[in-house]
Symmetry: C2
Subunit: 297 residues, 2 copies
């Protein structure tokens, strides 16, 4: 492979982590505990997949990482807020995440709820800040609206609700697909399109990237489900098999592991096929698609 994914991921992750450190409120500022809680979860080791997709989306239409860094951070903050709230006792009740204590185990439930709220709020400020530097100011509202749609009741939050309501029930493939498309795929997709839009991508380029993002997002969630079945505590940093323990609606539970791997591979291939019109600049997205399929955590 000519494209050096490892080097690409490392440089992008370093940029994103420096930016996250910059945009998050200081632990020296009041309210200290809230800021500690926000930083604890966001700055925990992670793949930074969503911000890297924002950057790759920008690059695919000829933009650069630098011009979309605030939005890249925003998508990571939304991801982090969703994990903090998902881990709460009233939701998934998880004590560990990526091998570390979950936010509410360290800071208490009240601060964990408020840290999530503050991260979501800050994310919209960052999207607006980033969009304000665009050449076409009419697109500012478009990007904020897209991110809100992907994160809210028509997106991530809606998927999480159906996921919770499906626990312990035998759900059909339609409900399973609803959960995947909304809970995970929406945010993956909007990471790519926000980057492409902010970098000045033309409407048809953004549409191409949106369709690729939809396939990639579904693939990501199926691989996540597979890893939950296969993984071990050491590898995943969370209690593996926890989906099954909670009778969560997952792709492997419904279709089996083999069919799940096949489906994920097909979706990755579809992602790449959909990116063809964009040519070489979309190479980072293609490499990230392979990364999504091959990752072990």
């Amino acid at each position: 492979m000519s494209f050096d994914l490892k080097a690409y991921l490392e440089t992008r992750r370093a940029m994103v982590e420096a930016a996250l450190d910059r945009v998050l409120p200081s632990e020296d500022a009041v309210p200290v505990n809230l800021h500690r809680a926000m930083r604890y979860s966001v700055l925990a080791p992670g793949k930074r997949l969503r911000p890297t997709l924002v950057i790759a989306g920008a690059e695919a239409v000829g933009g650069t990482a630098k011009t979309v860094l605030d939005a890249a951070c925003a998508l990571e903050l939304i991801h982090a807020y969703s994990l903090i709230h998902d881990d709460l006792p009233a939701m998934d009740d998880d004590d560990y995440r990526r091998g570390r204590l979950t936010n509410h185990k360290v800071f208490g439930e009240a601060i964990a709820i408020l840290a999530g709220d503050a991260l979501l709020t800050l994310a919209f400020r960052l999207v607006a800040d980033n969009a304000a530097r665009m050449s076409d100011p009419r697109m500012i509202a478009r990007v904020v609206a897209d991110v809100a749609d992907a994160a809210g009741t028509d997106g991530m939050v809606g998927g999480q609700v159906i996921d919770i309501e499906s626990e312990g029930k035998d759900v059909g493939p339609d409900t399973l697909e609803y959960i995947h498309r909304h809970k995970t795929a929406a945010l993956i997709r909007v990471s790519l399109t926000a980057g492409a839009t902010l970098a000045g991508g033309r409407a048809e380029q953004v549409d191409t990237i949106r369709e690729a993002g939809e396939s990639l997002g579904l693939a990501f969630q199926i691989v996540d489900d597979i890893l939950d079945v296969e993984g071990s505590l050491a590898e995943l940093g969370k209690t593996a098999g926890s989906d099954e323990r909670k009778k969560k609606a997952t792709y492997p539970a419904y279709h089996g592991l083999e069919a799940s791997r096949h489906k994920a591979r097909m979706l990755i291939d579809e992602t790449k096929r959909r990116l063809e019109p964009l040519g070489t600049p979309a190479e980072p997205i293609r490499a990230l698609a392979d990364f999504v399929f091959e990752r072990r955590s």
Copy 2:
């Protein structure tokens, strides 16, 4: 008084409530429970003070209610989300709000947390939608950023954290003022300035309104604290005296009732004095300031 506040409040409230019904997702749409929970709290009877302030802010610079209705709804959604999360067992643990069961008592904690998240997210979509119709698109990002700042760690959420952390402690007047300015005043203030900005107010007009909003917001919280001491369950619809029971940091607890009333009156007078440069168009804000002081709930 020549200005008919009662008629003003009634017409504005009717407009706001029709708009809220329109912008909230339907109970027929999936996820049904989430949408029910969102509508349950937002459409509960209320003063609609924040959306009315958005409208009054617009009118004060020559705008109309119609042009800022989406943003007016957004501020009510942010207020509603904050109440849902504040009432949770991990926070204030309140069973009743305005005489009705709190959100988590009806829908469960998980849905209550997610309904709050979804309302906050929808609020930013509405602000962006509203701002997109502005004549000066560069102001779109300004309004989104202002609302985010007032709602997040430098505003409402920050105030809530210090409020929680101060429970059962003897806090000084500085901490008390920090809580009031952040937890309540910031959102009151940004309601006025968002309306004025969206209606095309000039920078010096918006500055005038911001200063008036700061005084009004502080007055509102002091009156709220007084009502908590004085009120009864029937009048307030929540357990009166609950602040004292929880040893919350309040103005009357620190300064006494008489001094609190005096301070609130002074702040209302200051609000009006600050509005003088705006002349007659600011009459609704002045009337709302009197309403804030004289309200019984």
